[in-house]
Symmetry: C2
Subunit: 156 residues, 2 copies
DNA sequence: AGTGATGCGTGCGCCGCGCACGCTTCTGAC
DNA sequence: GTCAGAAGCGTGCGCGGCGCACGCATCACT
């Protein structure tokens, strides 16, 4: 691995390492058990399926289901169905667009805002807690790198 | 955010940043389009559903479906079904355990090893290419941090 | 030898997804 | 003003994956 003739392998070693770690991380974070644990005590409306819609809505403000779809990564109809569940749980309210009576804007209710804030707080606390014993400044540097990686990395 | 009374929020800010980035990363990496692009030209047997089984098998060596299940993160029966598809594609071979005639070990065929190596190489190259303009040493440091994050982080 | 335990594959019901259809509403041209 | 085409939304439908549970084969232990 240290010979110059294998330089392509050395160059790609970082890629292999990141890919490996990301693969494990993906499988871990998609475990239903983790989501159950994090959504403990919340209302019945939010789960690992509906949360991406709720989160995207909180991030971008009131939008239609069609506009939310590419951000969530599924079809427009799926966003509609998930939003209906959130609406039934009282976390999301459908509001007719005054400028276009066809459009139905999805708006977070007060309870919806509270729920997403609570959930984000739990997740952040969970992450922060297990990073407590990192050397000072390491976590911040890692967070910056990770942000840049997601923003302009291979999955942009 | 800078007032002392909100110190818990400041403490959690790193957690929030990491959670946000991970959320985006998750949605990006689970997009089917990316998998289609990466598996371009491969046989029909490997896709975004069957690949985790193939990869886990390559990582840990010959194992039974039940042993692979917790690593993949789904039920034992799902691993069996995915393995059957990989077997039909000639990437995996079922081999009776000589010590236990109940057990069916899943073994990668030569073509299976070649496929997973090729796929890993593509992914690693894809990652490495977009990290080319990072400052020297930054990518390596990030990879180390990421590995530690997955190993002993909040999702261990 | 016999009984409980273990491992594997599969049938079944459930659920989420993408596609396509119908309905309503907007837009632009005549 | 009117009408045809486009745009937006919700929903029915078929497909596919998943978890559970059952049956069969085999092992372990008495």
């Amino acid at each position: 691995m240290r010979h110059a003739r294998y330089s392509w392998c050395v160059d790609n070693e970082v890629g292999h390492e990141i890919a490996e770690a990301l693969g494990v991380l993906l499988r871990r974070t998609t475990r239903a058990q983790l989501h159950r644990q994090l959504t403990e005590g919340m209302g019945e409306g939010v789960d690992e399926v509906t949360y991406p819609v709720l989160s995207a809505l909180a991030r971008t403000g009131p939008r239609s289901a069609a506009e939310l779809a590419p951000d969530v990564g599924i079809d427009r109809s799926g966003v509609t169905r998930r939003a209906s569940r959130l609406e039934a749980a009282g976390l999301v309210r459908r509001e007719a667009d005054p400028e276009d009576r066809r459009a139905q804007l999805l708006v977070l209710t007060e309870q919806g805002r509270h729920t997403v804030a609570e959930l984000r707080g739990r997740l952040a606390a969970h992450i922060t807690a297990s990073l407590a014993d990192w050397p000072p400044g390491e976590a911040e540097a890692f967070a910056r790198r990770l942000r840049r990686f997601t923003a302009e990395g291979p999955f942009a």
